[in-house]
């Protein structure tokens, strides 16, 4: 889309520089457009409404942040920054530390990205570069349909299909080959970081695949043709010409998936085991921030407990914002505003 927009923009610029009768030069159009502002009453009203709409979202952002902060104040006072790195979560003794949830959230999301990115990029590259034309639409449609399945259905499917499958067919061979690594220590009970990460991966594949596909479709055909003309095979053309051209957009697609994985609640809480423990083993149960809030909020009877959960929400909010900020910096660094999709992000 963006590439088309850019092309159309340069085309119209080329057009306006030509002295065509009856069409005023571009600069005068802009002057007239500016001078119209504030003149007409309906224009003024229209402008105010649009300004209000545009401001509503940033205001909402600030309000959410403020409410989270104010509600988290008692816990912030009580525990200070150690809330972030202590790992006891004891509602009876009123001692709260969120480290296991923060680690669990990051680990499960990165595991999901690790699994989902090759899969989703593979789907996108196949659909844009290699698949026969008749196959492209149906497969793309089915992949995107995965995004329409409700979270709780993924959770149920995970409990009744994924976990038994992992238990019988995935974990035993994994342990046989990589059992010596710290990542596969302990007994596999089913509900675990691995199960949570895999279900997250399946849930974010459609998002990454759909956006990546749009990005790759927007890479101009001339890029491919140039690579092929240099004697590249189709795979070499994809690797050396198409992917680098779209890299900013592809990173954006991955970040979109990561953002969703960080905040996903229902399916994860049904599969991750909900245990306040820090460990690197994928076979052990873990916890995520979103799951803890969803689980414990309704029965949080004391003020400090309530407030500690708000602080977890605040941390999750900050983590999400930081991840998105890092992604933006990454895209600017990589793309420098030139590659496909960088403007949209």
């Amino acid at each position: 889309m963006t590439a088309f927009g850019e092309a159309a923009g340069s085309f119209s610029r080329a057009m306006t520089s030509l002295p065509i009768e009856g069409v005023p030069p571009r600069s005068s159009i802009e002057t007239r457009w500016q001078s119209l502002l504030g003149k007409d009453k309906s224009d003024r009203i229209y402008r105010r409404i649009l300004t209000a709409f545009a401001l509503a979202l940033p205001v909402l952002f600030v309000v959410i942040l403020a409410v989270l902060f104010v509600s988290a104040l008692p816990a912030l006072h009580q525990f200070g920054p150690s809330f972030l790195w202590t790992s006891t979560w004891d509602p009876v003794a009123e001692i709260y530390g969120a480290a296991p949830m923060i680690v669990g959230t990051l680990l499960s999301s990165f595991l999901a990205i690790l699994i989902a990115v090759p899969l989703a990029l593979g789907v996108a590259i196949f659909l844009t570069e290699f698949a026969p034309r008749w196959l492209r639409q149906p497969v793309a449609f089915l992949v995107e349909l995965l995004a329409a399945i409700p979270s709780v259905v993924y959770g149920l499917w995970g409990v009744f299909v994924l976990i038994p499958f992992l238990r019988t067919s995935v974990v035993p061979p994994l342990k046989a080959v990589l059992g010596w690594t710290p990542f596969l220590q302990g007994v596999f009970y089913g509900n675990s970081l691995l199960a949570g990460g895999v279900i997250l991966a399946i849930m974010i594949v459609p998002y990454i695949a759909a956006v990546s596909r749009e990005v790759l479709l927007a890479v101009p055909g001339s890029q491919r043709e140039a690579a092929l003309a240099m004697g590249a095979t189709r795979w070499e053309a994809v690797r050396s010409a198409v992917l680098p051209y779209g890299r900013a957009g592809l990173i954006g697609a991955i970040i979109l998936g990561l953002g969703r994985a960080l905040g996903e609640t229902m399916a994860v809480t049904m599969l991750i085991g909900n245990r306040h423990d820090i460990g690197v083993s994928l076979l052990q149960p873990a916890y995520t921030m979103a799951a803890a809030i969803a689980n414990e909020f309704s029965e949080a009877t004391t003020n400090l407990y309530h407030s500690a959960l708000f602080e977890v929400g605040l941390v999750l909010f900050v983590v999400t914002v930081v991840v998105n900020a890092i992604a933006r910096i990454l895209i600017w660094r990589v793309a420098r505003g030139t590659a496909v999709g960088s403007r949209a992000l």
Partner: protein, 349 residues
């Protein structure tokens, strides 16, 4: 033309409003008694059309919060309010038990068809992570003839805060000093071992999908879903299969410890009745001792009175254990003590 139509509409609307003033009463709280509360309110409204009752099952914690903030007229909770929470509202609360429930032990043992028997200390040690194998000598000795496998015991507990967890941990705190000291009781606690399942269905699904798992759910949930559960030895030394009668017996057994002047904030776990199922619990309505709105207070207390008297008959068919009959005079005395604008709401008969 248009005006007459509006007039007709207004007349119609006017006719739909009953002559007597409507009383709207809102409540919120525990999810466990939601089914019977909704049923009671519906039934009560059929004979008292002027009283509109509304109950939202947002969880005990939310119920206590909204009740304390005064956003609802009554609360409901599966766990009694703490002393500090009561002090925060100047003691203006009465705990009124309505029905009872029980917590049962469920497990996933292939090839085991008879109910497994559990002693209190074994349950505590399993959930403390000290008994880790199904063929542990202490389990095997009370289960002769049951082919207990040599597999790991996988503990499954509630991950969400819940009255079920409160009753269960309250029981464990009574039967195990170590549990009392290390973990304690509450709607959510710092579990020493195990996986967390979300809701009763989360626990029962995880147990049913995990060989060697053990968990706990509400009795009504287990019976309506036909899940097998274990037998527990009570404080009199009898093996008790959880039934509604055994739960009612637990409250009856606990009555002599309570005394007629109780505030009902008592736990009836590990009660002393010979036929009492030990992991039983009340669920409570939270009412204010004094209200400001007389009409509202009167309608609410009359409804609760009705629920405690006639409403109890509905309990067994909905999966709840009714309160023992002997408890009714005590509850009645408490309801009569409620005042509005300085005067008793109910007339002393």
């Amino acid at each position: 033309m248009k005006t007459t139509r509006y007039l007709a509409l207004a007349a119609l609307l006017g006719a739909a409003v009953p002559a007597a003033a409507q009383v709207q009463i809102n409540g919120a709280g525990a999810t466990f008694p939601n089914i019977i509360y909704q049923d009671w309110m519906l039934t009560y409204n059929q004979t008292h059309a002027d009283v509109k009752l509304n109950y939202q099952s947002i969880g005990s914690g939310g119920g206590i919060r909204q009740f304390s903030d005064g956003t609802v007229d009554f609360g409901a909770s599966d766990a009694p309010m703490s002393d500090s929470a009561i002090a925060a509202i100047q003691g203006n609360v009465l705990h009124i038990p309505t029905v009872m429930g029980a917590v049962v032990i469920i497990y996933n043992l292939q090839g085991v068809t008879q109910a497994v028997k559990f002693t209190p200390d074994v349950i505590a040690d399993i959930f403390l992570g000290k008994v880790t194998k199904w063929n542990d000598a202490r389990l095997a000795s009370v289960n002769p003839g049951v082919a207990l496998p040599a597999t790991d015991i996988i503990v499954v507990h509630r991950a969400d805060g819940s009255g079920t967890s409160f009753a269960f941990t309250d029981y464990l705190s009574k039967v195990s000093p170590e549990w009392q000291q290390k973990v304690g009781k509450g709607p959510s606690v710092n579990w020493p071992v195990g996986l967390g399942g979300r809701g009763s269905e989360g626990v029962s699904n995880t147990v049913s999908q995990t060989p060697g798992a053990i968990g706990y759910v509400e009795l009504a949930y287990a019976t309506s879903n036909k899940i097998q559960f274990g037998t527990v030895r009570n404080s009199s030394g009898n093996w008790i299969t959880p039934t509604l009668e055994a739960v009612t017996a637990a409250a009856a057994g606990a009555m002599k410890d309570m005394g007629p002047n109780t505030d009902f904030r008592v736990s009836i776990t590990n009660s002393s009745g010979a036929q009492a199922y030990p992991i039983s619990t009340f669920t409570w309505l939270l009412l204010h001792k004094s209200y400001s709105d007389t009409a509202k207070a009167r309608a609410l207390v009359q409804f609760v009175w009705w629920a405690e008297a006639e409403g109890q008959a509905k309990a067994p068919q909905l999966g709840y254990a009714p309160l023992p009959k002997e408890l009714h005079p005590w509850i009645g005395a408490r309801l009569k003590s409620i005042t509005a604008a300085g005067r008793p709401v109910l007339k002393a008969e």
